[in-house]
């Protein structure tokens, strides 16, 4: 059976699989939201979604438009002030996983969502931290979801918004990475992607794990869940080409895009 899927769907599925066995996840809108909901329907049935806007245990009846969407509130288990959310849930140590976006990520796993260029004379002004800096320091682990290019995967970020201290896995449209021996290391490559593609989209000589894996393609039941239940309008999983996401909302806009990227569809592996 051959099922086509988009790079975004590959990213969603790969991210969802990272959540197996986790209980609490700080969620951004966009791809992480679909990934978290996919995990809840599949490999992490007890996963609770937490939003920095103050929501714990959301069960949105529609795909949220932002991390402060009214649909996240209605029917959730708890809504608190942001002070309580950051203090008691995040800083108090209750968050197993946080998802962050990145405009730039460097060789050591540091995240930039603040500026391209000099802070005081920016070439591109990005959104900034939002809650990302404290998520990166207080969640037990952090995953990053981002689109990979030589401009976004850089040897050294222009600005460290969020240090990569508890960075676990980076999910891109090309593969999966972990920090090993202090350096970003390619551990899995998505179906149909070559090692050359990956190096071409990386701004430094890339370290590759000796046991480099191939990411299993999205399974039919994963694609069905995404397409029929989680994002039936295909708002995010097809059209969204820039992962519009982070624990902090939308940190990950591509700094230099003028128009959508138009990622290619790939055949199933």
């Amino acid at each position: 059976m051959t099922v086509g899927y988009s790079p975004a769907e590959m990213m969603i599925v790969a991210a969802a699989r990272l959540l197996e066995g986790e209980r609490t996840c700080f969620v951004g809108v966009g791809l992480p939201n679909i990934a978290c909901n996919l995990a809840r329907h599949d490999k992490a049935p007890d996963l609770e979604l937490i939003y920095e806007s103050g929501v714990f245990g959301a069960r949105p009846a529609r795909l949220p438009l932002s991390i402060g969407d009214a649909a996240l509130v209605t029917g959730s288990l708890s809504v608190t002030s942001m002070n309580e959310l950051f203090s008691y849930y995040l800083q108090g140590g209750l968050i197993d996983v946080g998802f962050l976006g990145a405009a730039q990520l460097d060789r050591h796993g540091n995240i930039n969502t603040t500026v391209i260029g000099d802070y005081h004379h920016p070439k591109v002004r990005l959104p900034g931290s939002g809650g990302a800096c404290e998520i990166a320091l207080n969640a037990r682990k952090v995953h990053v979801i981002m689109r990979q290019s030589p401009r976004s995967f850089v040897s050294r970020v222009d600005f460290i918004t969020s240090p990569g201290r508890v960075l676990d896995t980076v999910v891109t449209d090309l593969g999966l990475y972990r920090v090993e021996e202090g350096e970003m290391t390619l551990i899995s490559i998505h179906p149909g992607v070559t090692a050359g593609d990956v190096q071409a989209a990386t701004g430094w000589p890339l370290r590759v794990a000796p046991d480099l894996a191939t990411t299993p393609a999205p399974a039919p039941h994963e694609l069905r869940l995404i397409r029929e239940e989680l994002d039936p309008a295909r708002v995010r999983s097809v059209k969204e080409t820039v992962p519009d996401l982070s624990g902090s909302g939308d940190c990950a806009q591509d700094p230099e895009r003028g128009s959508p990227h138009g990622l290619r569809w790939r055949p199933a592996g």
Binding site: G54, V73, M82, H120, P127, G128, S129, C133, D250
Partner: protein, 303 residues
Amino acid sequence: MPDKRASMHDAVADLVRDGETVAIEGFTHLISFAAGHEIIRQRKRHLTLCRLTPDLIYDQMVAAGVADGLVFSWLGNPGVGSLHAIRRRLEGGNPLQIEEYSHFGMVGRYTAGAAGLPFYPLRSYQGSDLPAVNPKIVPIQSPYGDETVYAVPPLHPDVAIVHVQRADASGNAQIWGLLGCQREAAFAADRVIVVAEELVEEAVIRADPNRTVIPHAIVDAVVIEPRGCHPSYAQGYYDRDNRFYLDWEAISRDPEQLDAWLGEWVYGVASRQEYAEKLGAERWDELTPGPAPAAPVDYGSYQ
């Protein structure tokens, strides 16, 4: 309790002064666009605008020339893209003074302001470049052991403007859904304007005191302004108008389009009521949610 009701025009005219620090708070939810537009209409100048997420309203206010400075933690069009008017100022030659934190840092600043504390300690910023570009973010050592955390200073806006679902005439105000940091911003501020979706009798407030976020004791004016949050939303009253958030991407990219938009939707209307009518009944119908009543609660009568 004194009746503090005022029109938006009078509240802004009396309480928002050129050169001051103003916080229109509300995290995605309950953003008082109505107050922001009135500030634009009255051509206030040299304001320092504080908000975690400047959102479209500060993009509009910056574009209209009311602001000299911005204190914030996340600068974007939530779920959509950029705030291009602000970006143009920051990336171009026309300076806008910025003071930048993380969300928790901003929340901490309001909290310290509300609590009369000289600083707010938090676990953030370690290893980040933010303290290097904002000297107000400083390390502080714990008096117990040698652990170091970070501190942010209190923020005391001259004026906080908070939209709520319901308030009585003296300013006792209730919010449900996202609470953001409105309570903290209001208590931290020197003056407070409460803008309410609905005016209710004092008895309604007293029938659920746990929902009260702001007490009349800190309120200077109460403006009854139904639909005052559009294109933001009021839980249970109307939804975010996402079409407008999407439209803003193109409008704000182009200074001419932006000026035309301000001309038509801000300068061109006298009041929020006119704005809401101009938007049209059909749009409001689309934004109206179905019912989802809260589970009942009984406080008990103790005589």
